[in-house]
């Protein structure tokens, strides 16, 4: 009665072999590597790039142990850190600004393992060090910005159509247009409805004032929000690329949040500055008709903003934005040819160049303010006098305090503007030494806990205890193999989860062993006792494990970050332990006892 059909043994053997294969990469450790990836998504990493990198290393006589191409980067392995660092400098010098060259660690497992997709477990930041940011997109601001855009578009369109309005302004997230009579309003309403499909129009009459209120349709609002998050993710990715981080993770979480994980980053201040700065550029005209001193006393003219220039001079700047950072295609730090001051050279796209040309032509002799908007606060970097019409879309901005600042500003402008401001709502930094420490401690607690359980089981249940211990070890193997296969992120709570599930997994074996003892005590023959033991215990194991599984699923569903990691391990551990306790341990028992027809006694 205690025999398995051959296919069950084969199934177990196959599962075991596969598990060993996929667990293997975890034991090879990591080798230093350098990763070269293009900073702009338009450029693809290809065999040519790999060839160039390899040639450069040969010229520099830096030994490397292998190079390969993956998703969008070239990765080169080195035997030691020394060669890795030398190679990084050499490659960065060779490829320049268009590519980011980052230090990386790659699995040292042999190529055939990588070929079958066997990779080591993906370690969370708490185990390998790095920075984690959770950023929230300011959605009201994104909608305000959209309303601003419509405000401008409507003004221009109505003017072009020669539809006379008495006033137009943004009120909250709507645009309010005032007319002197109902007929004009009807005309405008008809025109807007046919041209701007995203707007929903309502009419309002208050005291001889004919108003038309344009608001974004709910579906268009949602599109605007989705677009804002998407653009912000792209922008963040560009900015992270500038930092040269290996394997960054940037992904959307929920409706309006973005998670950024930068493994191995140590200079958190720098990372935060680059990521958190929501700087964009605005060019506006300076209002020179009104009195600045009056404005300083609080009488700011309508349609103007009062700013203090870096030199300490107050300045009245028109609210109307001539040009925004959206039109910028490239920005690079440099120096002004004449004065030698730090400067940023900005290239505008064709539309921006045309606007800039028109504005400079119409306003020769007047001043133009260049503002850097950061977290809703604007700062006038410089306000030069327009000497002549500037065409061709090449603009030079001076007024930066240092070359470093010019370089930072250029980076921000080049990386693109965020569609809406973002705030860091959560930040976690783990030092690399702490990460290594966490792995060591987590590993040790697993090891010693396992040893204690194994010794007890073998002493208490003798041969069946040995089976149970082996089943438990196999369970650990399955769990690690599954985690490696799924590339689920292993965190410190995850490591604790492995220990906990191993502790709980033994429950199934204890249940079986106790049941067998009980059946023996009741006078059953050893074979019958074994059979009944496994059979009866199964129902109990199922019930008790499913309740724990319910807890695990709820944790995964509602948990976040490391708690999710714990939940994944808990759920997987329950599944593997049910399989290993019932099938693997039974296979061992059947192999050793199943054939004996007259079994006098079992060692339990």
């Amino acid at each position: 009665m205690n025999r398995f059909p051959l296919w069950k043994y084969i199934l177990i053997a196959v599962v075991l072999v596969v598990s060993v294969l996929y667990t293997l990469p975890n034991f090879y450790g990591e080798v230093p590597a350098v990763q070269v990836s293009p900073t702009r998504s338009a450029i693809k990493a290809d065999a040519g790039l790999m060839q160039q990198a390899e040639d450069e290393l040969k010229i520099q006589k830096i030994p490397y142990t292998g190079a390969f191409l993956d998703a969008n980067s070239v990765k080169i392995r080195f035997a030691n850190n020394d060669a890795q660092l030398k190679a990084k400098d050499a490659l960065q010098a060779r490829f320049g600004d268009g590519y980011s060259v980052a230090l990386n660690l790659l699995s040292a497992s042999p190529a055939w393992l990588t070929a079958i997709g066997a990779k080591p477990m993906y370690l969370g930041l708490d185990l390998r060090g790095g920075v984690y940011f959770l950023m929230q997109v300011d959605m009201p601001a994104a909608l305000d910005k959209a309303a601003d855009r419509y405000n401008n578009d409507l003004r221009i369109q109505l003017r072009e159509q020669k539809i006379r309005y008495t006033g137009i302004s943004r009120v909250g997230q709507t645009v309010e247009i005032r007319f002197s009579d109902a007929a004009t309003r009807a005309q405008a309403s008809k025109y807007i409805a046919s041209t701007f499909a995203d707007l929903v129009l309502t009419e309002q009459d208050t005291g001889g004032d004919y108003r038309l209120i344009a608001a974004l349709r709910p579906e268009a609002q949602k599109r605007t929000q989705d677009f804002a998050v998407q653009q912000n993710i792209t922008t963040l990715r560009n900015r992270v690329n500038e930092l040269g981080v290996a394997e960054p993770i940037i992904q959307q979480q929920g409706l309006d949040r973005v998670v950024v994980q930068l493994p191995g980053v140590q200079d958190t201040a720098k990372a935060k500055e680059i990521l958190g700065r929501t700087a964009t550029l605005e060019i506006r005209l300076v209002d020179e008709e009104h009195d600045v001193t009056a404005a300083l006393q609080g009488q700011i003219p309508f349609g103007d903003d009062l700013y203090i220039e870096r030199s300490g001079q107050p300045l009245l700047v028109k609210k109307n934005v001539v040009l925004t950072g959206d039109y910028i295609t490239d920005a690079s730090p440099g120096f002004d040819q004449q004065s030698g001051q730090a400067a940023v050279h900005v290239n505008l796209d064709s539309r921006g160049a045309r606007i800039f040309k028109d504005v400079t032509r119409d306003n020769v002799g007047k001043r133009m303010a260049i503002l850097l908007i950061e977290k809703g606060k604007a700062e006038v970097i410089t306000a030069p006098v327009i000497r002549e019409e500037i065409g061709g879309g090449r603009v030079q901005i001076t007024g930066m305090e240092s070359a470093q600042e010019a370089s930072d500003d250029a980076l921000l402008l080049r990386a693109g503007a965020l569609a809406a401001p973002m705030n860091i709502v959560e930040e976690r930094t783990v030092g690399p030494s702490l990460g290594a420490d966490n792995i060591k401690k987590g590993f040790h607690s697993n090891l010693w806990g396992f040893a204690a359980v194994a010794i007890f089981m073998m002493v208490y249940y003798r041969v069946f205890g040995v089976f149970s211990t082996l089943a438990l070890a196999v369970n650990g193997l399955f769990l690690v193999a599954l985690l490696s296969m799924m590339q689920a992120t292993l965190t410190l709570p995850g490591l604790a989860g492995i220990a906990l599930t191993l502790g709980m997994a033994i429950d199934a074996n204890v249940l079986i062993n106790e049941r067998i003892r009980e059946e023996l005590r009741n006078g059953n023959s050893p074979q019958a006792a074994i059979h009944a033991g496994y059979d009866r215990a199964w129902g109990t194991i199922l019930d008790s494990n499913i309740t724990t599984l319910i807890a695990g699923v709820a944790l995964f569903w509602l948990g976040s970050g490391p708690v999710r990691g714990f939940a994944v391990v808990l759920c997987l551990g329950i599944l593997t332990s049910m399989f290993s306790a019932v099938t693997v341990s039974r296979a061992m028992v059947n192999l050793s006892y199943g054939r004996k027809v007259r079994l006098a006694r079992v060692s339990i």
Binding site: R428, S445, R462, A499, S544, I550, L570
Partner: protein, 314 residues
Amino acid sequence: MEFFRLKKDIPFMRYGKVTTAISLLTFIFAVWALATKGLNLGVDFTGGTVMEVAYTQPAHLDIIRTTLEHTGLPEVSVQTFGTTRDVLIRLPLKGNTTSARTSDTVMAALKTQDPTVELKRVDFVGPQVGKELYDNGALALVVVAIGILIYLALRFEWRFALAAIIANVHDVVIILGCFAFFQWEFTLTVLAGVLAVLGYSVNESVVVFDRIRENLRKMRKTSIPDIIDSAITTTMSRTIITHAMTQMMVLSMLFLGGEALHNFALALTIGILFGIYSSVLVASPILLMLGVRREHFIKDNKPKEGVAADGAQV
């Protein structure tokens, strides 16, 4: 080797009143601790900044405190963490600002005082995220409880489900009560531990219930309290050994897992200890009080096993 060779069933149910009284007292104590002291919520839930820094020599907390006071940060709490060289700095959220730059300010100030100081970890959590985590955590507890309730009601019967859930909520409240009474820090990881306990401790009740159900079908002439006593006694050995095994793992985490896993392991330890007690001495008496009967199970199996009506006489 065998520790529990019990010849006679232990009359657990006869002590029902005493054990219920004891658990009621501990439960009330836990609720009192929660109500008066409240949980010492970690930065995950409250929002704020926690920094772990390491010095090469034992750190002088007073000097660190004065240095930080000069930076103008309010209510900074400074304490050692694990060893005398590791220092934990807590900064509450100030006003509405969610500035993640605080950690840089702190590090800059500490560097001027001792350049060898090394930043090991920073956790900054905004107020909104903290509140969401708190709400989600509470929701998770409710979801798990309801999920288990439904599963047990389907697999057993509603009385079993209710008894198990009461016993387990009792465990969870006691863990939370301990954390409140001793003012141990309650973090997200501890919450994960508490939820794992909820799943784990219901395990224990299920194993006993499973045996009660089996006995109800098998032992026709026996009274319900005796059936429960027998079920508890026969599963006693397994209950204690399983708990001992899990406890060994958890102790290994408590002693070797480092500070990061300390409170997690602590929550599990309390959960495991009370899990044994509650599965045996809380869940079963409640089941008895709820009036479990043989008919609840025999009825279902009548056509299958061809049981005669005598089962229903008791």
